[in-house]
């Protein structure tokens, strides 16, 4: 009897739910691993077969192609690696500039959108809808081919004599240039900035702790002005010379030059992204509880104080996460520069593919670089995000 009963009680392995769960997990993970293995193996076999080895030795070969804008010394005899580095720096510069302008502009437009003035609010709405509903590439073409290349030629530049020259080749601006002894002045200026920041932080902290006015604003401003001034006199009173653009041959020389391509990309990217940022700002501000604003007004804060002290700090925690993705988008969108002749990472990567004949290694390099830039951007903003979140006690 006993023998006959026991097997019927024990659940067979193929009906045991726990066993089946384990089996299902093992099988599905094996399936995924198998798929990955198949994809990667296939990829490696094919690259081998077609003589496209995944090596990066070619980065040391001479690039042989010119790059118009570079923030580090570069000429066509330098290596592909150097060219890619130039591209990376160009991407970082245009992205940083774009993020700065897009944030400022987005903030202003976002606030305008919330204005109680009908006209201001509608202007902001029109701006946002215009930029959100047109592809970025089209906007870039509009800026570059529609506006900037239609500017007057070099000989007919729009001119503020000795200060600013605008033509279809770029914007040429008078710009300070360090001369002999300039380094001393530069060192003093930097020290001044650092000291001013330290003074601001320390004195402000003291005020918060002791509750006594420490005039931190005025003190740090004084440091900011006085220390560089000392440097100015020590370095022999002429550390900086103004570099005026002069028309020589075909183009202007000297001064600060923003090329048409760079400017078109910067403006296009900044304005496009600012429309999205404006919406992020608007939603963030509208997310602040109305009671907070009413309470702030009730204690007698004026409207600027309500905005700066009550609304913005609370809106920030809603704003930051979507803002991060807008910054990342802007950085990635900078690769559209390819179409309007600004040579950033992707454009130079594509030239490298063509000149070096190494499509896959270069694409892997480009993808990895964008990934790293994006991860670093998110990391920084996530740290900031943690600070603005509610501190729960």
């Amino acid at each position: 009897m006993l023998r006959a009963e026991q097997p019927s009680r024990k659940i067979p392995i193929w009906r045991d739910e726990r066993a089946l769960k384990v089996v299902a997990q093992v099988i599905s993970s094996l399936a995924i691993l198998g798929l990955l293995y198949w994809l990667i193996d296939n990829f490696l076999v094919i690259t081998q077969q077609r003589g496209m080895p995944l090596t990066y030795g070619f980065l040391k070969e001479a690039a042989g192609f010119p790059i118009k804008e570079s923030f580090i010394p570069y000429d066509s005899t330098m290596s592909f690696g150097r060219a890619v580095l130039v591209g990376l720096i160009n991407t970082l510069v245009v992205s940083a500039g774009g993020i700065l302008f897009a944030t400022l502009l987005g903030f202003i437009i976002g606030l305008m959108r919330l204005s109680s003035n009908w006209l201001i609010s509608r202007i902001a709405l029109a701006y946002i809808e215009f930029h959100r509903n047109i592809p970025l590439l089209v906007l870039l073409f509009l800026w570059y081919f529609g506006i900037f290349t239609k500017l007057p030629g070099v000989q007919q530049s729009i001119t503020i004599p000795e200060i600013l020259y605008i033509n279809q080749r770029g914007f040429y601006l008078i710009w300070p240039r360090l001369v002999e002894g300039g380094m001393i002045f530069l060192a003093f200026s930097l020290t001044g900035v650092i000291l001013a920041v330290i003074a601001w932080v320390v004195l402000r902290h003291i005020r918060e702790v002791r509750g006594k006015e420490t005039y931190f604003g005025r003190v740090s401003l004084a440091i900011l002005v006085l220390v560089p001034l000392m440097g100015w006199f020590i370095s022999g009173s002429h550390p900086v010379q103004l570099d005026v653009p002069i028309l020589q041959g075909y183009n202007f020389q000297g001064g600060l030059r923003l090329t048409t391509e760079f400017t078109a990309l910067l403006i296009g990217l900044a304005m496009y992204t600012s429309a999205f940022i404006a919406e992020v700002i608007r939603s963030g501000i509208q997310a602040v509880n109305k009671g907070q604003i009413e309470a702030a007004k009730a204690v007698g804060l004026n409207s600027t104080q309500v905005l700066m002290l009550i609304i913005i700090p609370q809106a920030m925690r809603v704003i930051i996460p979507p803002l991060i993705s807008q910054y990342l988008n802007l950085t990635k969108n900078s690769s559209l520069a390819l179409a309007i002749g600004y040579q950033e990472l992707f454009a130079i990567g594509k030239v490298t593919i063509n000149q070096a004949g190494r499509a896959i290694p270069v694409f892997i390099l480009i993808m990895a670089t964008y990934l790293i830039i994006s991860l670093i951007t998110s990391l920084i903003l996530n740290i900031y995000n943690k600070r603005v979140q509610f501190i729960e006690r």
């Binding site: 193929w14 009906r15 089946l20 089996v23 299902a24 099988i27 599905s28 094996l30 399936a31 198998g34 798929l35 293995y37 198949w38 193996d41 296939n42 076999v45 094919i46 077969q49 077609r50 003589g51 496209m52 042989g64 192609f65 010119p66 790059i67 118009k68 000429d75 066509s76 005899t77 081919f145 290349t149 239609k150 030629g153 279809q168 080749r169 020589q248 041959g249 075909y250 183009n251 048409t260 391509e261 390819l338 179409a339 309007i340 002749g341 040579q343 454009a347 594509k350 030239v351 593919i353 063509n354 000149q355 004949g357 190494r358 499509a359």
Partner: protein
């Protein structure tokens, strides 16, 4: 019921998993189309392209769509041009129909990758043959156009020599031999310049036409094509100097010698046709020509094999190609001749060798 379902499902997963893991299942595209084991003397991939084309019913060509004369779209959106005609000739030879092409528009920078990945059957997009490209990109077939790099300048600029261009801004297409030749020419002469580069050919010349650059540089044929499309062509001049050799050549992916031979032979056929005076109009009469070589080349009955059996073609493949697009001279004149559709370009080096040019193809026999 659900238990049965689960068992069946897991069974299926295991089977597919095993199939995926087994090394034989790794599909190499070259081997995909050869169901029968290839003959021992021929490497893997031999004949794969032709089989794929016949199964697909179309020859896939990477082409230009914005370069007047070489590769462009006519008012009906049909792919036209000197380069396109070679694609059509191959389609006519292989499939018997010059319309059986799929023209994939590619940029200059795409040419290498599409060859390396085998995305197209051939690239006919005014591409310069260089040793490095031949080694790395694919197999180059036969030079269809001898070109050289020149400069396009506004007549009003007064630029005549390379020295005049010192410090000038130059518009150039990115990812081209042009870009490198430009760098070499200027640095050899100790001159400086600023390059404005675009990926799209059309962007290069619209920037030049707007005045963003002082000079545009490219192959002279391309400059002639672009100049013809300007609003005021007479305001611009192509300088006589040439700074490079640019043998423009269609190319095919590596790994299929048969396909390489087919494309080469079709091009030879078109060049030989001009030599023999075979045109699209008289190709049928020429099949009964007195010249046995001509009869053989056109695949008249009872004549010798010019290699078509090994190439997997029909005897009249070349006749079909000639009937479809004409001989080399006809193709040239159609676009660049005195009454050409695109613009007039002196044949120069592209004349037959018998007329003092460089067009010389191995005999078809």
């Amino acid at each position: 019921m659900s238990r049965k379902f689960f068992l069946v499902l897991s069974g299926l997963i295991i089977i597919s998993l095993l199939a995926a893991c087994s090394p034989q299942a790794t599909p190499t595209p070259a081997a995909q189309n050869t169901s029968a084991p290839p003959a021992p003397s021929k490497p893997t991939g031999y004949g794969a392209t032709l089989a794929a084309i016949q199964a697909r019913g179309k020859v896939v060509c990477g082409v230009h769509t914005e370069l007047l004369g070489f590769g462009y779209l006519d008012e009906n959106g049909r792919n036209m041009g000197f380069d396109i005609d070679f694609c059509r000739a191959v389609a006519a030879a292989v499939l018997g129909d010059p319309e059986a092409i799929e023209a994939v528009p590619i940029t200059a920078a795409d040419r290498g990758p599409v060859l390396q990945t085998g995305e197209v059957d051939m690239v006919t997009r005014n591409m310069t043959w260089t040793s490095k490209r031949d080694a790395e990109w694919g197999n180059f077939t036969w030079i269809t156009f001898y070109d050289g790099q020149g400069f396009l300048v506004p007549k009003a600029s007064g630029i005549n020599t390379l020295e005049d261009m010192n410090g000038a801004t130059v518009c150039v297409t990115t990812g081209t031999t042009t870009e490198k030749n430009l760098a070499t020419a200027f640095s050899d002469a100790g001159l400086t310049y600023e390059a404005v580069t675009f990926e799209e050919t059309s962007a290069v010349y619209s920037a030049y036409e707007e005045g963003r650059c002082d000079v545009a540089t490219s192959d002279k044929s391309q400059l002639a094509a672009v100049r013809a499309g300007f609003q005021n062509p007479d305001d611009h001049a192509i300088l006589p100097m040439t700074i490079s050799k640019e043998p423009l050549t269609p190319a095919v992916p590596t790994g299929d010698d048969q396909w390489l031979d087919i494309v080469k032979t079709v091009i030879w056929g078109l060049i030989n046709a001009e030599e023999y005076g075979i045109t699209s109009a008289n190709v049928e009469q020429m099949k009964s020509s007195e010249n046995a070589d001509v009869r053989a080349m056109l695949g008249a009955e009872g004549e010798a094999d010019w290699g078509y059996t090994t190439l997997g073609l029909k005897a009249d493949a070349l006749a079909k190609a000639i009937a479809a697009v004409g001989n080399y001279g006809e193709i040239y004149d159609r676009y660049f001749g005195p009454s050409g559709i695109a613009f007039t370009l002196d044949r120069g080096l592209n004349n037959l060798w018998t007329d003092g040019g460089l067009m010389y193809a191995p005999p078809i026999k």
